[in-house]
């Protein structure tokens, strides 16, 4: 009897294992079933993703996830956030712990191809810079030979830093600390001469974490291209499409001048582009596997790209649009047409 029980249990576990191996592919189905989007964000980078005083996440990266939730689930608040360090982020996405990574992440060939990611677009054009104490008496990055540099590990920043100093024939000593709070604390305590990350991040660190922001300055050199954007794991194309076009819809809304305030009036616009975007003339939503109001909800609940930028980046960090202005204003932001 005993033996039979054991054998039966064994057989059952084998069956269970075999069944499990058959593997669900669709991230999208999972999101619909659980009713929210699991969004990987920064552990705390004001302007991009940081929890505010009430514990609500805000930032330009957070708005991407909110926009997608509004389009897919009808409510921008149906998002749960997983704060991740630079080193954790890709594993979290690959393992399916998060559905989407929206954490000021630079799109590169290696990440796209070897890590099995799909970048959905670029929501922030950035470049790497250097933050120094004014007391250092340096006015250009070319004078940094021999400096000690604080940097987060596992970032493109770390690689660009080595490349830049190598190319200039200069030496430096890295101090590599994973947690951004520990790393900035080390910098402000004088452990490093220089802190390096994307220029937007430096602005965020200078204005929100420095004991006295006026004692610090960002050097004029931008040493790299850092196109930052949200990414999903390869393997669920429909999910990637929804994310890609939610991002595009926010940009196109700005191009058309559709904002969260006027989106209801805009529904009666005669502009065929706006009619397509807001679902007045149907077809776009159906193509994505959504209803026709998908973009309307994004704009109504989250706002267009410009609104998100104003609210998060300009207001919190004092960083102007620059490269992130619309192409019509001399910037690089250029939405793929929703048609």
């Amino acid at each position: 009897m005993k033996i039979k029980t054991i054998l039966a249990a064994g057989a059952m576990s084998v069956a269970a294992i075999a069944a499990n191996n058959a593997q669900a592919g669709a991230v999208l189905d999972g999101i619909k079933a659980k009713g929210f989007v699991q969004c990987g964000v920064n552990t705390g980078l004001p302007g991009f993703s940081a929890a505010n005083a009430e514990g609500k996440w805000e930032g330009i990266d957070v708005d991407v996830c909110r926009g997608i939730a509004a389009a897919l689930l009808g409510d921008a608040n149906k998002v749960q956030y997983t704060p991740l360090t630079a080193a954790q982020r890709f594993t979290a996405l690959q393992s399916g712990e998060i559905d989407i990574l929206s954490r000021n992440t630079t799109a590169t060939l290696t990440r796209d191809v070897k890590l099995g990611l799909t970048f959905l677009g670029i929501n922030y054009y950035d470049g790497q810079g250097f933050l120094i104490p004014k007391a250092l008496g340096v006015s250009s990055a070319t004078e940094l030979d021999g400096a000690t540099v604080c940097v987060e590990p596992g970032t493109t920043t770390e690689l660009n830093l080595a490349d830049y100093f190598r190319a200039k024939g200069m030496s430096f000593e890295p101090v590599v600390i994973e947690n951004i709070n520990e790393a900035t604390a080390a910098f402000f305590s004088g452990r490093c001469d220089v802190y390096t990350t994307d220029a937007s991040g430096l602005a965020s660190i200078r204005t929100t974490m420095a004991p006295n922001p006026d004692d610090y300055m960002i050097l004029p050199e931008i040493i790299s291209k850092e196109p930052l954007g949200p990414a999903v794991a390869q393997g669920d194309e429909q999910w990637a499409d929804i994310g890609r076009w939610a991002l595009a819809a926010m940009l196109e809304a700005e191009e058309y001048g559709v904002t969260s305030a006027n989106v209801d009036e805009m529904k009666s616009s005669t502009n065929p582009g706006i009619q397509r975007l807001l679902g007045v003339s149907p077809g776009m939503g159906e193509a994505l596997g959504l209803d026709e109001e998908w973009a309307y909800r994004i704009i109504k609940q989250v706002g267009n790209y410009g609104e998100s930028y104003e609210k998060n980046v300009t207001a919190k960090l004092g960083v102007e649009r620059g490269l992130n202005a619309l192409w019509t204003d001399g910037g690089l932001q250029y939405a793929w047409p929703v048609r």
């Binding site: 080193a87 690959q94 490349d163 520990e182």
Partner: protein, 398 residues
């Protein structure tokens, strides 16, 4: 159910049920099933992982080890630059782990032994101070202690511009401790050889002295003579080598102090944190080891007129070692494994470098498998050594 049922002499042929009721057959059967389940679970995990990686188009394999790492590492015991391969980077991390673990093991043994003995001191203040030390540092998680030391060190010392110079050439700064080092010269190789010769000589003298003491009871001052031989030989080698005096003295150049050798705050934080934490456990091991030696041993030594300090060194400690070595091994293993927490304060140990590697290459499973097997190897080596040492100590028993 009992064996007697199947005892030899039974006339009827055995059925399958009879076999299954045999205790021995069952024992084997259970083990086969257990092994089968383990293999099945392992196979399931591996194949599932491979399928998932394949599905997500994530590349696998160890080929990345030959690629250029292109990140810098702050401290390295071997030649390393951003152009070196990932394999070299991992080697740098491994050596840094070994460096901090070995030094930590040596220091925590010394400090722990002192505090362990102090815990049993007849002096009230010494005893209480040792107790306070042990109880405080044993009861705070080691990670928090690392954070503590890392917060203290950069803030406790001045910026390199106004470095604190307690000795000429030694600079204490928020970037660590800088010390002068002699400029490389052939004399130093010669001195190294002389040191090895001195060690061999001391070993032989020690053997001879022990034999003589066993035969005649005459003690021989091995320590004094040995020190003399060591210093003398090395000094002679130094003179033969031409007595070089050039030193590489650290001094402020640009932003940083250049020259000499630097002990970084990250290394110091990890070393101090691990040493202090583990030394409290070592202290307890030593204390319990001493207390495990029967009090009669003290009294016997007393009655022979042996001084208390000599009795401790020659009578009590050797006996307590036998009790102490196995738990001590555990503490050494813990220290080595805890050194992986170094990643939290930015010391480029094996985990830190592996983390960066896995993040830059995306080869998470490969990188983790590498550092897990290395830690396993390190721990097994430590165990092997300590088991050998334990055996050696046990043999001395009279």
């Amino acid at each position: 159910m009992s064996k007697t049922q199947n005892a030899p002499g039974g006339v009827r042929s055995k059925t399958v049920v009879d076999y299954l009721n045999d205790e021995n057959v069952r024992a084997i059967l259970y083990q086969i099933i257990a092994i089968g389940l383990v293999i099945l679970a392992g196979w399931y995990l591996v194949s599932n992982t491979l399928v998932n990686l394949e599905r997500q188009n994530i590349s696998t394999g160890y080929g990345f080890l030959d690629l250029e790492a292109s990140f810098e590492i702050s401290e390295s015991m071997v030649q390393y630059s951003a152009q070196s391969s990932y394999a070299t980077a991992l080697l740098v991390g491994l050596l840094n782990t070994v460096k901090v673990s070995l030094l930590g093991i040596i220091l925590c043994t010394i400090i722990g032994t002192i505090f362990g003995i102090a815990r049993l001191s007849s002096n009230w203040i010494v005893r209480k101070l040792a107790t306070v030390y042990v109880e405080i540092f044993r009861n705070i998680p080691v990670l928090l202690q690392l954070f503590f030391w890392y917060a203290v060190i950069p803030n406790a010392f001045p910026h390199p511009r106004d470095a604190f110079e307690p000795l000429p050439g030694v600079l204490l700064t928020s970037r660590g401790m800088y010390m002068p080092v002699p400029v490389a010269d052939n004399a130093y190789t010669l001195m190294g050889i002389a040191a090895i010769i001195a060690f061999v000589a001391i070993f032989l003298i020690k053997k001879w002295a022990k034999k003589r003491q066993d035969e005649t009871g005459q003690p021989f001052p091995v320590f004094l003579v040995g020190t003399g031989i060591f210093i003398g030989l090395v000094f002679i080698a130094y003179l033969i080598g031409g007595a070089p005096t050039d030193m590489d003295i650290p001094e402020l150049k640009g932003f940083n102090i250049r020259g000499g050798t630097n002990v970084s705050p990250e290394f110091l934080a990890v070393l101090i944190g691990l040493t202090v934490y583990t030394s409290t456990y070592v202290a307890e091991v030593v204390r319990s080891g001493i207390q495990a030696v029967p009090h009669g041993q003290w009294e016997a030594a007393d009655s022979l007129g042996i001084k208390r300090s000599v009795a401790l060194r020659k009578v009590i400690l050797p006996q307590s070692m036998r009790v102490a070595i196995p738990p001590l091994t555990n503490q050494y293993l813990n220290l080595t494994k805890n050194s992986s927490l170094a990643v939290a304060v930015g010391y480029p140990d094996l985990v830190s470098v592996s983390n960066t590697t896995m993040n830059q290459t995306g080869q998470a499973i490969e990188a983790i498998s590498i550092f897990m097997s290395i830690y396993l190897g390190l721990s097994l080596l430590t165990s092997l050594f300590m088991n050998w040492f334990n055996k050696k100590m046990a043999l001395v028993e009279r």
